[in-house]
Symmetry: C2
Subunit: 267 residues, 2 copies
Amino acid sequence: MFDEATKTHSAVPVHAPIAIKPAGELVDMHPHAIKVACSNCNLRELCMPLGLNQAELDRIDDVVASRRKIKRGATLFRNGEKFSSLYAIRTGFFKTCVASEDGRDQVTGFQMAGEIVGLDGIVNEHHTCDAVALEDAEVCVMPFERIEELSREVTALQRHVHKIMSREIVRENGVMLLLGSMRAEERLAAFLLNLVQRLHARGFSQSELVLRMTREEIGSYLGLKLETVSRTFSKFVEDGIVEVKQRHVRILNTDSLKDIVNPKVCD
Amino acid sequence: MFDEATKTHSAVPVHAPIAIKPAGELVDMHPHAIKVACSNCNLRELCMPLGLNQAELDRIDDVVASRRKIKRGATLFRNGEKFSSLYAIRTGFFKTCVASEDGRDQVTGFQMAGEIVGLDGIVNEHHTCDAVALEDAEVCVMPFERIEELSREVTALQRHVHKIMSREIVRENGVMLLLGSMRAEERLAAFLLNLVQRLHARGFSQSELVLRMTREEIGSYLGLKLETVSRTFSKFVEDGIVEVKQRHVRILNTDSLKDIVNPKVCD
DNA sequence: CGCCGCATTGACGTTCGTCAAGTCTAGTGG
DNA sequence: CCACTAGACTTGACGAACGTCAATGCGGCG
C-alpha cells in the first residue's frame, strides 16, 4: 500500500482541474523570455481575483516584485521582523506559529500552494508569528505598498484583498470552535477532512495524502500532545476509518470521519 | 465593597482620556441639528484613522449611513444573514459566536465601544457568526460598499481598514494560543487582564470591572465549562488575587495575574 | 413574597497529559 | 551495499486536570 502516495504535494496531481506544475523552471533558462507574472501563473485562480480584463491583468502582474525560494526548515519571516510584503505560496507547504513569552508555542495554521501568508504583519508593521517551510518552497513576494496602491485603482483587487483577510478571520473562528469545544477524535477528524479537501481543490486525491508536518506540529495546531495525536490515529486505524503509515494517510471512510466531527444525534 | 462598581461600561468612566459619553441623545431632540458624524464623535480615536484633514474628515462622515439600537439579548446579525455593513460599536457590549452543525457553540469574542464587528461577512457575503448584545447597545452602520468606495480615495481609510482586519487576525492568533496551550487558571487570568486593559483604554478603572457576560459565556470563550470558570474565580479569591461578587470583579494583584499567564521560570 | 436564572460547591468519572520504554525510518558515511 | 544514528513515531502505565451530575445558595424582578 501507499506505493503511489510518495509523490509530494508539489508534484503533478492525480487529476488536475487546476494544473499546479509551475512553469517557473523556464525563468532560469531564459531570464528575459518569461517574466514573473500572475497572468500566466497556473495558481491564478487560487490567489488572484477572477474576471479581470487584459489591461487589469497586466497591472496585477506588478504586485509580484520577485520570487523567493525557502529551504525546508527555513523561515519566510519571523515574529518581530519588519513587515513589508504579503507572500503567495507557489509551491511547498508552510506552518505559521505564535509563541508566548514563556516559550510555549502554538501552530496557528498550515498553508499550501495558492494561499497567502503575512497578513498578521499589517497592523503593527511587524510580524507577530513565524512562517516556517515544511518542505522546500517558493513564494511570490508582493510588497504591501504596491498592493494598496493598485487596489485603489483595480476594484476587483481591492475586493479580493478584503476577502482574503475576511477568509482568514473566518478560518480562525473555525479553529477556535475546534479548540474550544471538540474532543481529540473530533479535532483530528476535522483536521484530516480540512487538509484533504484543500488538497483535492488543488487536484490531489480525495482520499490519500502525505502529511508534511510532525505529530507534534499537528498536536500543537489541535491543542493536543503528540502522543494523543498518535493514539488517535491508531484508534482510527483500528476502527478501519483510515490507513496510516507514518506520514502517509489513506482515508477509507470519509463519512465516518464526518460523523465523528458532527455526531448525529438520534433521538 | 463594590459600591462604586455598579455603573455600567456605558456610564461616565472613572477618568477619561477619551470621553465615552455619547452626545447622541441630542439627535432625538434636534434631528436636523446634529447629523450622524464621525467628525464629532468621541470614539473617533478608537474606530477611525487619525491625522485626517478637514476635507477628509467630512468625507469619512459619509461611511456611517445610520445608527441602530440593539436591546440586550437581541442580535445585530446572525449566521447566514446577508452581509452588507460593518458596525462600529458606540455603546454597549457584544459577544460573537459561531455554531457547529450539531449545535455546540463557541463564543469567538467580546466587543466593546469603539470596536468593529461584521468582518466575518465579507468573504462570502453572508455572516458566519452571530453578534449578540449583552447590554443595550448602539452601533454605527457602515455599508461596506461605501467603505470600499471611500477607501479607494482616502488612503488613510484604506490603511485603517486593512489594519482593523489584521488586528482581528492577530487577536484570534492569541486566542488560539490560549485555547491550545493554557490551563484553566492561565486562561481566566489572561481573559481578565485583557478585559481590564481594554476598559482602561476607554477610561475605566484598571482594577475594577463589571462582567457583562455569564460564567457560561466566559467558559465558552475560554474553552472551559462554567463550573470550571466558577471554581477558578473562587481559587483566585482564596489566593487574594481578586475580589468577586457575582459579576463585579476587583483585581487586587495585577502582577499575580500576569505571573499566572506567563509563569516565570526560575532556574 | 416567591419564582427563575445564574452562580457556587461537592463528589465522582473521563479524557488527556506525563513519563518511560521501545520501534521504525530516512539519511549518512564507511 | 550495509551499518549506524538521530529524529520521529508508537504504545503502555499512571496521574492530574477538567467535565459531569447534582444539590444548594443568592439576587433581581414581577
